[in-house]
């Protein structure tokens, strides 16, 4: 049973990889490759975010802060120190995100529930204000344009495959993490924090660890985005960016590892389709998402798993059904 689901996962994983790898070959316009890059990067961002929310039960409304750090690290270095800093700025941004998330983490994990959510939102909005107001340094509301990746990465197709590989390795790492002992403890923290202390583990320490890890991957996603759009903008730090990964997770299902990734696919395609048809797209999108969430409260992947589970029980015609956690 476990090995067959593992096999299925490996199959899905390969199919997904091949599908994304074929986009540049099969596309009818460059725009589609751009769209696929967005899906990959937001998918990573959402999956990393959901390690906090779906897995550990920490609803951060401020992950845009780290997404922005990843992007701004590149933008600011290239703008102020020169083109040669593009690649070094990526690890610098990740380290900056790790340090800041550690320090802010010490503060925000002191509170839980809606207070945690509000506090993370407040810090992210503060960072947004700073980038917005500090025009000379950050370009303010104009952002920074014309940031070109160095060497062969300047080629859009090469860059696409670079994104594909980085995203797949990152998601693979997070998937391993989710089913490791650390991942198990994180789920325990969500389900019964009190009991976690009585098996000898610190709730806060584990929350801090995943907060840092999730934030570093958010920063990685942000840094990947720069080469796709060749620009950075204060919107990357705005609360709507944090909101977007929450929406993706809800759409895809927060209790399934790949839920948020599927949510990213759906949301970005919806935005694209509706955005092309009407300028009132946020209203339409909002309505669709709302209906969606009401119809499929477990998210797309969650509902599919639920359905499969019920079919399996029906199929086992009367026999005592063993219940399994579906990945």
């Amino acid at each position: 049973m476990a090995s067959s689901s593992k096999y299925k996962f490996g199959l899905l994983w390969s199919v997904g990889f091949v599908a994304f790898a074929l986009v540049p070959v099969l596309m009818t316009s460059r725009y589609q490759m751009n769209l696929a890059s967005h899906i990959l990067i937001w998918g990573l961002f959402a999956v990393a975010f959901n390690m906090l929310w779906g897995v550990t039960g920490m609803l951060s409304f401020g992950q845009a802060l780290y997404f922005g750090i990843g992007a701004y690290s590149i933008g600011l270095f290239v703008n102020h120190a020169g083109k040669a800093w593009y690649l070094p700025a990526i690890p610098i941004g990740l380290v900056a995100a790790a340090m800041l998330s550690f320090l802010l983490g010490l503060l925000v994990i002191r509170v839980s529930g809606v207070y945690f959510t509000m506090l993370t939102l407040a810090f992210a909005q503060l960072a947004w204000q700073v980038t917005f107001k500090w025009y000379d340094f950050t370009g303010g509301d104009d952002g920074i344009q014309g940031i070109i990746a160095p060497g062969i990465l300047a080629n859009k197709m090469v860059y696409y495959y670079f994104v594909l590989v980085v995203v797949f390795i990152s998601v693979w790492f997070l998937k391993r993490l989710a089913y490791s002992p650390f991942g198990l403890i994180l789920r325990c923290v969500q389900q019964n924090p009190n009991r976690v202390r009585f098996i000898g583990r610190s709730v806060k320490m584990n929350q801090l660890r995943i907060y840092v890890i999730s934030s570093v991957f958010a920063a990685l996603a942000g840094s990947l985005m720069v080469g796709v759009d060749n620009s950075i903008h204060t919107d990357m730090l705005f609360w709507t960016t944090s909101g977007e990964v929450i929406l993706m997770s809800v759409l895809g299902g927060i209790n399934q590892f790949f839920g948020p990734f599927v949510g990213a696919v759906i949301l970005i395609l919806l935005e694209d389709i509706i955005g092309a048809k009407t300028e009132f797209w946020p209203i339409f999108l909002g309505t669709i998402v709302l209906i969606f969430v009401i119809l499929f409260p477990k998210g797309v992947v969650g509902e599919i798993q639920h359905l499969r589970h019920r079919l399996k029980i029906a199929g086992e015609s009367g026999g005592r059904h063993e219940t399994h956690a579906s990945a």
Binding site: S180, I185, N192, F198, I199, R201, T323, H324
Partner: protein, 250 residues
Amino acid sequence: MKPMLRLEGLRKSFGGLRVTDEVSFEIQPQEIAAIIGPNGAGKTTLFNQITGYLAPDGGHVFLEGQEIAGLTPQKIVKMGVGRAFQIASIFPDETALDNVRAACMSKLNQTRHLWRPVERFNRATEQAFAVLASLGLERQADRMAYELAHGDQKLLDIGIALVLEPKLLLLDEPTAGMSPEERQLTRQLIKQLWAQYKLTLIFIEHDMDMVFGIAERIMVLNHGALIADGTPGEIRNNKEVITAYLGEEA
């Protein structure tokens, strides 16, 4: 030999209510003792102070001669005090196996591993299975904890504590909410676990068959104070206990 547990003048109040009133006693290694008393007598609160969930207002708690009052639950657990709760405290959306395995991995200091899947940790998996088996839960290993019957959830809670290999195990009403048949089984099971794991065991119970059936020693709490402490025979004939507690039941 140092006593496994020693309380000295332990005090705790909630507002004006005295819930632990100058409680002192000693428990020797491998003793099996029961704490009884009416509802609200302060039994759970006493466990809460021993295990670090609540800090006492005054007095001392010594584990093998070492002061533990006011330490965090994590520290106290690591020093060898295990605990199961009055209302089963489990991880509902994990399998029974993972409930116990998580605790086992905590004990083995494996919870920082973030690459290898949980199933590949053979030692933790074997130990978790062994504990499930000793509780008669091995056939429930792959079921989600929330799906288990109430009685099995109570046993699972004990399993989580047991896999930590505690020197001192505290059970808060292990048979609460069980059917008479389940109680009977659980009573035998606990006595057996006590012997098998060479535990020092203190349990809180309202079920008198269990208390007088397996405890070598009984302590009686009333309004936060220890009003009696002795063998089952002594407690049975203690007038104060009869009026304070047993009398109410009759």
